[in-house]
């Protein structure tokens, strides 16, 4: 008996301690922006290599690009580190006039030499972002001539062909690759001639409102305002991005005020939070497309009609109202809404769930008895639901789909080496211009397996159409803007019927904002940390 009483008192003490716990007020510091985000995908901060959504945004807040998109209007380009720019009449020379007197965080002065070197190293390192420059003719052999600093504050880019200058401004000027790096400091920390690749994995040395103070993988990213920034200083001098993998936890944190912004929320969480009134939602469409990646190499998927049938298996409306509610809108055209040359909302999504049509198409293609195939999915929360919906509808027309879920890393490996049948995955378009998606998903210079263009989605899906290659090239160089847009429209219309993939949704960026945060600025392309305040 005595034992029991002792026991009870122990339990009692423990629980009362919980009530007595010194709980600090659940609030965040007034000078720090605290964000909850799943940042597991960060692997490096080197602009030559960064190739995913999270690091892209953080990097854009750390390193000033030459030009930028207007936060209010994504179609406008405004100066950022470059004060002004000129385009030659033949559209082949682009001259940027950089700001004078700016300094790096290390204190070194910023010159056009740094800007040129930053771009040159991207091409020379041949990592993920080299393509964004090499596709415009910047190759390692000639890069030192084609991207040059002609004086302290002038950067000159010589293009090999007369590309549309707006496109170049978007694809290079406003892209993360044009962040100006502190050449001196980076080279001081170079390892075996890697031009700072290893050092820049965990450091940033560029001119921008914030610098990377700390990155603890799987834990947090800490940004601190730069002292000698040329532009207006950010109102919140620190940004702490906490890694929170569970969406439920993120929701609890933002509702309680322990974080100011939650970046990953489910549709149900969002509906509840809105009702509670404690948290405001910011929802903007992004250039990220969720698509059903179909490998066009083998039958039956190589058959156009089969792939068209697939597009009728997608319950766009049903999914849009439920699984993808608030986090995406249906879109079957490969070019994202909001891009130059994109089909409008209606034309860009002519499909709906139609099992009879799908059946008829399959019969025309010679597969009235159906066939079996696989669908690999990664770890996005909506993937499993969408995959099962597709599987269910497919089974009703005789196609049996086996779902394989795996870690994202494994998924990338398989897609890269063309060892898959179908995959559900997202893709972030690099520019708000139809060229972005067309150049990646349609244009394929060489479909042979020896070419090993593992970084090109068109090659990965074995899609090769010389006719489309030509049409894309013509559209690229068409000087008349209206005609150019028309050409892209016609490409998209044809793609809707014969394209390699079934595009499903255009994804939104959703942020839950705690009431204490003001001036949260976010457009489809990124969030502007330096504009937020409390």
């Amino acid at each position: 008996m005595k034992k029991i009483l002792t026991l009870m008192s122990v339990i009692g003490a423990v629980s009362s301690f919980a009530g007595l716990s010194v709980s600090a007020s659940a609030a965040t510091p007034a000078d720090t922006l605290v964000m909850a985000w799943n940042i597991d995908s960060i692997t490096t901060f080197d602009p030559a290599q960064v190739n995913e959504v999270v690091t892209n945004e953080i990097l854009l807040n750390l390193c000033d690009t030459l030009v930028d998109y207007d936060p209010e209007d994504e179609s406008k380009i405004i100066p950022r580190f470059a004060e002004s720019w000129d385009v030659s009449d033949d559209r082949r020379t682009l001259t940027f006039h950089l700001r004078k007197g700016a300094k790096f965080p290390s204190g070194n002065p910023v010159t056009a030499e740094d800007a040129a070197w930053s771009l040159q190293r991207i091409v020379k390192l041949k990592l993920a972002n080299a393509l964004s420059l090499s596709e415009f003719g910047f190759v390692p052999e000639t890069i030192d001539q084609t991207i040059k600093a002609t004086d302290e504050n002038t950067l000159v880019l010589k293009l090999d062909k007369p590309y549309p200058s707006t496109l170049i401004l978007q694809a290079i000027g406003a892209y993360r690759t044009s962040g100006v790096l502190d050449r001196k400091t980076v080279l001081e920390n170079e390892v075996a001639g890697d031009m700072g690749n290893k050092y820049l994995t965990t450091h940033t040395e560029c001119v921008g409102p914030y610098r990377l103070a700390r990155w603890n993988a799987g834990e947090a990213v800490l940004l601190e305002a730069n002292q000698n920034y040329w532009g207006s200083a950010p109102k919140l001098k620190r940004v702490l991005i906490r890694h929170v993998a569970e969406t439920g936890t993120q929701r609890l944190l933002v509702a309680q005020g322990d974080v100011d912004v939650a970046r990953d929320l489910t549709p149900q969480d969002m509906a509840d939070l809105e009702k509670s009134g404690k948290v405001e939602l910011s929802i903007v469409p992004t250039p990220q497309m969720l698509y059903w990646n179909i490998n066009n190499r083998d039958a039956p998927l190589s058959n156009d009609k089969v792939r068209l049938a697939f597009r009728y298996l997608v319950d766009y409306d049903g999914l849009a109202k439920t699984v993808m509610h608030l986090i995406g809108s249906p879109r079957a055209s490969l070019v994202q809404l909001g891009a130059v040359g994109a089909l409008d909302l209606k034309e860009g999504q002519p499909f709906k769930l139609d099992l009879d049509k799908a059946k008829a198409l399959l019969a025309e293609a010679g597969y009235e008895n159906g066939f079996s195939t696989t669908l690999a999915i990664g770890s996005h929360p909506y993937s499993a639901a969408i995959a099962q919906s597709l599987q269910q509808n497919a089974s009703k027309v005789g196609i049996s789909i086996k779902i394989e879920s795996m870690a994202n890393a494994q998924l990338f490996s398989r897609v890269r080496s063309r060892e898959y049948e179908t995959v559900l995955q997202p893709w972030l378009a690099n520019v708000p211009d139809a060229y972005g998606m067309v150049s990646r998903f349609i244009v394929n210079p060489d479909n042979r397996s020896e070419a090993k263009l593992g970084n090109l989605p068109s090659w990965r899906s074995s899609y090769y159409s010389p006719e489309m290659n030509k049409r894309a090239e013509d559209a690229l160089f068409e000087p008349d803007d209206q005609k150019r847009i028309e050409m892209y429209h016609s490409i998209q219309r044809d793609q809707l019927q014969n394209g390699p993939h079934a595009f499903l949704f255009q994804l939104n960026a959703v942020s839950g904002l705690n009431a204490v945060l003001k001036n949260w600025t976010q457009n489809g392309l990124r969030a502007y940390y330096d504009k937020a305040s409390k």
Partner: protein, 305 residues
């Protein structure tokens, strides 16, 4: 004074006879005693009852489910429990109650197969190592130690990643991670009895080692191994759920409890029933194995019970 008048006739007389006439009768009497001890243990009976319910659910699944388990209806997603859907609907509008029932089949399949693999393998390795000693013991125990020292989740993950996701590969992976404790237990038991007199006697008679192990040592280890195995089942249910949770067990749309839990994860705060049903099912299954194991231990080894 033995009161012979009480035990007059029939079954009662036979089973309660103070002096058995044949070895068979003696053995059956012992078994009866054990069963009576077991029946006296309330919690063990409770565990057994749950297990029986589980098994009958799995067996009669097609007959009792009210809805098709793959039937999606997006318009009816995330509905709370109602008379039509006892446990509500999930994010694709499927009936959770029906999926739960079929999920019990998968769970039992995993448990049964794992037990069949892990039991004999662990027992064999452990008894051989314990009986022979010397370098045989050293080598076998090193192998056991290596597997034991390897984080079980990583081992399971690695094997599933290497072999491909799916239920059978998950079973192999879990078995690989679960057999070392059984082997260690069998070895420990073997060590304590290997020097005992009756083993020595049999050895003197000239029986060969394998026969000794199979017919004499193993049966002695069997009770504790069975108990340990039953208790392990509880952990295996959770591991399988964990693997399913990480997406590496049974693939969608299979109604495996772990993956149901995983998909219900994002809705816990809004539609709690999606994760509640499989969660409680896993809990009850695990609990019942634990209670059953405890009861078995009490029954088979009076010293412990």
């Amino acid at each position: 004074m033995i009161d012979n008048e009480k035990y007059v006739s029939g079954w009662s007389a036979w089973i309660n006879a103070p002096i058995p006439d044949t070895p068979l009768q003696a053995r059956i009497q012992l078994l009866w005693e054990s069963l009576r001890r077991f029946a006296a243990n309330g919690s063990a009976l409770f565990g057994l009852a749950i297990l029986c319910i589980l098994i009958s659910m799995a067996t009669f699944a097609p007959l009792i489910v009210p809805h098709d388990i793959f039937d999606q209806d997006l318009a009816k997603q995330l509905q709370a429990p109602s008379s039509n859907n006892l446990f509500g609907t999930d994010e694709l509008g499927r009936d959770i109650f029906s999926r739960m029932i079929f999920g019990s089949r998968i769970t039992l399949y995993i448990i049964a197969l794992t037990a069949i693999i892990v039991g004999p393998v662990g027992l064999l390795v452990g008894t051989v190592a314990g009986y022979f000693g010397g370098w045989v013991d050293a080598v076998l125990m090193r192998i056991v130690d290596i597997f034991l020292a390897f984080p079980s989740l990583i081992l399971a993950l690695a094997f599933v990643a290497a072999l491909g996701p799916g239920i059978d590969n998950a079973i192999i992976a879990i078995s690989l991670a679960s057999w070392p404790p059984i082997a260690r237990l069998a070895r420990a038991e073997t060590l304590t009895i290997r020097q005992s007199d009756y083993i020595n006697a049999i050895r003197l008679i000239g029986a060969d080692p394998l026969r000794i192990i199979l017919r004499h040592v193993m049966p002695m280890c069997l009770p504790s191994v069975v108990v340990r195995l039953t208790l392990n089942m509880a952990a295996i249910v959770l591991t399988a759920a964990g693997l399913g949770f990480l997406g590496l067990g049974a693939q969608p749309p299979s109604p495996e409890w772990g993956s149901m839990l995983a998909s219900g994860r994002q809705f816990i705060l809004t539609s709690w029933w999606i994760a509640a049903a499989p969660g409680v099912a896993i809990l009850l299954t695990s609990l019942s194995f634990n209670l059953l194991g405890d009861g078995l231990r009490d029954m088979l080894d009076p010293k412990h019970g």
